[in-house]
Symmetry: C2
Subunit: 238 residues, 2 copies
DNA sequence: CGTTCTGTTGAATACCTTCAATTCGCGTGG
DNA sequence: CCACGCGAATTGAAGGTATTCAACAGAACG
């Protein structure tokens, strides 16, 4: 776990001793470069392989993680083995921050969806930085607030009765985000199924039915939205 | 909205010019009494009647609320009219704090379940106090962290397949909280149904089945837990 | 004492799940 | 370069559970 190093390939400015992803992370917006450098110094780069477990539910949280590159899922596992994904996170996004700040255990599991590089930031060092610059605390407040909103949306979607509705809501969400009618899923379909609270079979059937109805076209991981109005009214329940 | 007053019946100490509930609110733990007094000064007491709407989704958030007495639900409403309760809050608990701090709109609706008295705290005043005492900000962080954990539990319960499982999980939660085998529901059964993501009919049937299985006994709003082991294994999925 | 809201029960329906079998995609190794 | 093999995705059939709608009973409240 002490494989500390400074990747060269991601430095755009010779004066910066930290990667671009760190600078763009929402958590660190508005922070002086000096502090970013400090964070980079107290952190350790962690390389994880696809499907590798990063932490498990119940484990004591001693640090927060920030994704430098790759993709990570945070999820709950029921005793029957069914998983419900809470977050899918990409470069620049932090995770494990809630229990870390509260000094508690992780409420869920985290696992890499792809080979990834993570910045592992021990809390003691981060708390010291918090005292130096209160804006870091406010950024953390904003982050938690954003997470709460995401959860509200997730809960809303999970309580929509039918799988096609949840799927339509999710696709429209992606459409808003990328502003494109052609959506390229950045996750496996089974992963998507777990995220919208369905089985892979149910997802497959939902896509097929929506295809038949002319709402969209599926080609592997690429989905063409054909009828936004129809999708929208479907998401809202007819 | 300017019905400011100082309720007499809740003052236990003549030197304090604010109610006991304010002192006990988790949000204000560790704050000097002077600041509590300030909060009480900038706030307004709001009386709401049962079923009265407090705020609606999409409304601009300018303040946060703290329940002095009574009961409030925070919920999402789908276009079909189905409601999903996010929180049920009692005396001393704040709500509306997330969008208020982020300067955004409310992501959900709030409505009084009982005649209630709320303390309405405009954000501008509260932010001023935050700058005076950073511990208020950390309390807010702790509050948001706790909310996130509640949501994780709610999501977990919603994705547990069967209604009886969700119900068992909720009842065991109440049992932990009150440490009693006799549980008196402080909410209507229909409200409970909306909270665990079910229809009143489904809840009724689930209770009946669990009654038949000897897990519990129902008498109006009073529920006797008869088989904790059985309930526990049910909640975990057999 | 009656009106209204809440809770219960029944029957029909719709949807998802489960399990099993098959196909597809893709990387590995021959 | 092709064949193999593994995991992911799809499809089918059977079964279970919640939903919906409607009617009724019960409790709360004025």
């Amino acid at each position: 776990m002490n494989n500390f190093h400074q990747p060269q390939h991601i430095m755009s400015d010779h004066k910066q001793f930290f990667p671009e992803q760190l600078k763009q992370a929402a958590l660190f917006q508005g922070l002086p470069l000096r502090q970013l450098s400090d964070i980079w110094t107290i952190g350790q780069v962690l390389k994880v392989k696809r499907n590798q477990t990063i932490f498990v539910q119940g484990e004591q949280a001693k640090a927060l993680y920030i994704i430098l590159n790759g993709q990570v899922k945070v999820f709950k596992l029921s005793l029957e083995g069914k998983e419900q994904i809470l977050h899918i996170l990409g470069p620049g996004e932090p995770f494990g921050e809630v229990p870390a700040f509260a000094g508690q255990t992780f409420p869920a599991h985290a696992q890499a969806l792809q080979d990834s590089e993570l910045l592992y930031i021990p809390m003691d060092g981060l708390l010291t930085l918090c005292k130096k610059d209160p804006s870091l605390v406010f950024n953390m407040l904003a982050l938690l607030a954003a997470r709460l909103r995401q959860f509200v949306t997730l809960i809303e979607n999970l309580t929509l009765k039918a799988v096609p509705q949840r799927l339509a809501a999710y696709l429209l969400h992606l459409h808003d985000k990328h502003d494109s009618l052609t959506i390229d899923l950045d996750i496996a379909k089974g992963t998507l199924a777990s995220f919208i609270g369905a089985t892979p079979e149910a997802l497959s059937r939902a896509l097929k039915r929506m295809n038949r109805q002319g709402l969209l076209k599926v080609n592997g991981r690429t989905i063409q939205l054909c009828d936004l109005t129809g999708l929208s009214s479907l998401a809202k329940g007819e």
